[in-house]
Chain length 217, copies 2
DNA sequence: TACAATACGGAGGGTACCTCCGCTTTTTCA
DNA sequence: TGAAAAAGCGGAGGTACCCTCCGTATTGTA
């Protein structure tokens, strides 16, 4: 399931913005950018590395204190840089998403319109099967509207539309398809924890069959 | 909050199934039994009712202590009867799963082979959209191997295979399809939290297109 | 009614979340 | 270069939740 829903009951109002007395809260337009001060930058990297490793090994439910311990920093440092578990996930995902986009371009260069699209989706499924919960979170993230993910989504959309539009022009997929729908569906394949690679492939085959242009209805 | 508007599900008269070998379909081999002593039985009911309501209102992450409080029993009583959150989910799901099965038979009586299957899957998606996290858990559960869910899965499988086999015999879906694959895929549609009904329907359309028999290539 | 079996409930120990604030490190600038 | 200012560090501590344990209360039975 999801990371424990962070809950409730924060007592004090976090409404303080600027110009507060002792206000130590600059609202950052881009959440979790790498800080500039030397020690802070080092700790940022340590935390992201530790988080990625921990998420892969033990799932995205890993205790944040465990991650801080792995990174060798105090829990306060983690929370200062990443105010929520989601913020930490975001930092980890940037690279994953970039990797997804890069693959799309690679396939576009080598394969025909439909095959390139299929290969890209296949690679997404393979990745999801091997990095279970991380990929699930990523899929969920693509459906969200967080300020941060909007940029990531644009990259994915650009890469994916390249493949999808090619396939549409070639007439090999139905023209009314929307990229985000396809990604959502493919992402859903591996959503439920345990998934054999064979089963994942069968599900993807169903989806791919559903994308193909109907010769005649 | 009405627990479920749909059929009170008499279900005591599961008419003899038309398809399949001599299937006996008694439902409910549940290990999670209602206790016999008066006070224990009363508390069991209170807990399941409170849990269903809480899961629908606040998701399946609701604190177990909150559920015990709603039910008006001590936390110890909850844990004695339901040793884990999963056990409580199981008790709630029995009715949900039964409802899913009942609908399958209803559609089989009224619609043609493919349309009945499509309607059943559509009803599952509709239900999932409205009862988000509960349905997500249910979908995940169908992929698990717990002793309890095995029985539930058999019921669903029986109901679903009725529809799927009819469609296969009519030649309207690909013959190599497996029911659990289809359910997994359809369940995945609503997995990522936020989902507009429109989008869910578009995704289901892709899946349904993928099920259809290829017109002999 | 009395006794045995069963169930109740909540205190309490453990873990994780997140905040707060005194201390330390880095950067700035005269 | 050497303070002072700015920025960051770390972990103690308050809270919520999980789950167990056991003295007390209720129910079924002879």
């Amino acid at each position: 399931m999801n990371p424990r829903s962070s809950a409730a009951a924060t007592s004090t109002a976090p409404s303080e913005d600027a110009a507060g007395a002792g206000g130590r809260r600059d609202v950052k337009p881009l959440p979790c950018t790498r800080p500039s001060r030397a020690d802070a930058a080092r700790n940022y990297d340590l935390l992201v590395m530790a988080a990625r490793q921990a998420f892969e090994e033990h799932g995205t439910d890993t205790s944040l204190e465990e991650i801080a311990r792995r990174a060798g920093v105090g829990i306060g440092t983690l929370y200062r840089r990443f105010p929520s578990r989601t913020a930490l996930l975001e930092a980890v995902y940037v690279e994953e998403i970039q990797s997804v986009c890069d693959r799309a371009h690679g396939f576009a260069d080598k394969l025909g319109p439909f095959d390139a699209l299929a290969a890209w989706l296949q690679s997404f499924v393979d990745y999801s099967v091997s990095k279970k919960s991380l990929a699930s979170e990523l899929t969920v993230a693509l459906g969200k509207d967080s300020e941060f993910f909007t940029a990531c989504k644009m990259n994915v959309r650009e890469a994916g539309d390249l493949l999808l539009d090619r396939a549409k022009e070639a007439g090999t997929v139905r023209p009314e398809l929307e990229l985000m729908d396809i990604l959502r569906l493919v992402g859903g394949i591996t959503m439920g924890r345990e998934m054999e690679p064979d089963q994942a492939n069968r599900l993807l085959d169903i989806v791919l069959a559903g994308l193909k242009a109907a010769p005649a209805s």
